[in-house]
Amino acid sequence: MAETTANPKISTRNVNVYYGEKKAIDNVSIDVDMDNVTAFIGPSGCGKSTFLRSLNRMNDTIVGARVEGNILLDGQDIYASSMDVVQLRARVGMVFQKPNPFPKSIYDNVAYGPRIHGLAAGKAELDQIVESALTRAGLWGEVKDRLGDSGTALSGGQQQRLCIARAIAVDPEVILMDEPCSALDPIATARIEELIHDLRGKYAIIIVTHNMQQAARVSQRTAFFHLGNLIEFGETSEIFTNPREDRTKDYITGRYG
């Protein structure tokens, strides 16, 4: 099933992902644009995280993992041999399930990416990038007086926002989020959701979540995956009130399995 939009940031066409012999993703074609937050939902093992990880070649590190079909970022094939993977991951950032700040200071966590990508000409410029990223991640006010403290000393919710700041410090175009709130309490979750709302339009955002209320709250487009297939992709408000496919309906209403 193909779902297209006028100005896709990411386009996938007939994508298959294999782990060895096992096909984890079967023929998925989907477009993701800048204006909408896209949520991937589906039961465990449906392939949604696998598919998400194929969008910035995180599966490359897994032995036996193989991607077929086309994944285009601004029309460029990200699996082309000419593609610099480090550069790709700067353009397509990722936030993981468990906050994983480096065991470094708050400042160095955010400055890490800009440093290795040579984005700042000097200390003053780097300071500015760090402040801007922390501000966009909604964390600046809480940490501005203790930038030298360890990132790991922050609360879980703050650590996750630090990871988001780290991702956006290199000015990515796409942010992939893999269950970013599953380790957070409801208040910290609400702050991340608010942040996603604020970041919408500045980045193409894709979020994988098991929490369907969360998908309903943060996204404008929702894709439902089941057994490696894309079952339905459409407006979030439609998916949650009037899904077209019985399998989608059974899943979101809690009748699955």
Partner: protein, 223 residues
Amino acid sequence: MSTGTKHTVTAFDDDMDEIRGLIAEMGARAESAVKAAMKALGEHDTELAAATRAEDKIIDTLETEVEKLVVRTIALRAPMADDLRELIAALKMSAVIERIGDYAKNIAKRVPQMEAKSALAGNEQLVRMGEIVVEMIRTAMDAYAKRDIDLARAVTARDDDVDQLNKDLFVDFVAYVAKNPKMATEVAHLLFTAKNLERIGDHTTTVAQMIYFTETGENLPDA
């Protein structure tokens, strides 16, 4: 709507079944109430009229119960898709069925105020109107039980007949009262009765629309 599969959390199904049961009971009681009110009116049966008025309290109580259950289910189960639609529809349906009960009570209330030997209470068109709305309620509740959108559609088509009868009756009764001014009070009661029946038809149409919405996620197109 439902593919028939149970929810993984079966207590959710129990909640939904309880709400469905209450709506079905409300519908059945409303249907009987309208039927009884029209019978009491036609036969000047003041006892039946009193019983009909008492019945309305039961329908009111059921509505309150539906409201409470729907709110609880939305809060505790976070329903989606057809479940959500069904609960919103249940809320709206219980409200309009409660109104049908009110109109039946209203008709019944007029019985003791009317002449025992009213020549008009048995008016053929008025009786016909009563029969049609009772049939509409029965069909709507049948559609609800069977999740049948064709039956729901049939209910809304019927409402045009009720509207037409109401208009005809108005003309006839106004002409009648011009010739028989002493009958003004009597005619006023019957005009209000016709208006009440017309409203019952509208509310029953809403019930049918809610069934269609629950099943399809779409609004019922105009007939």
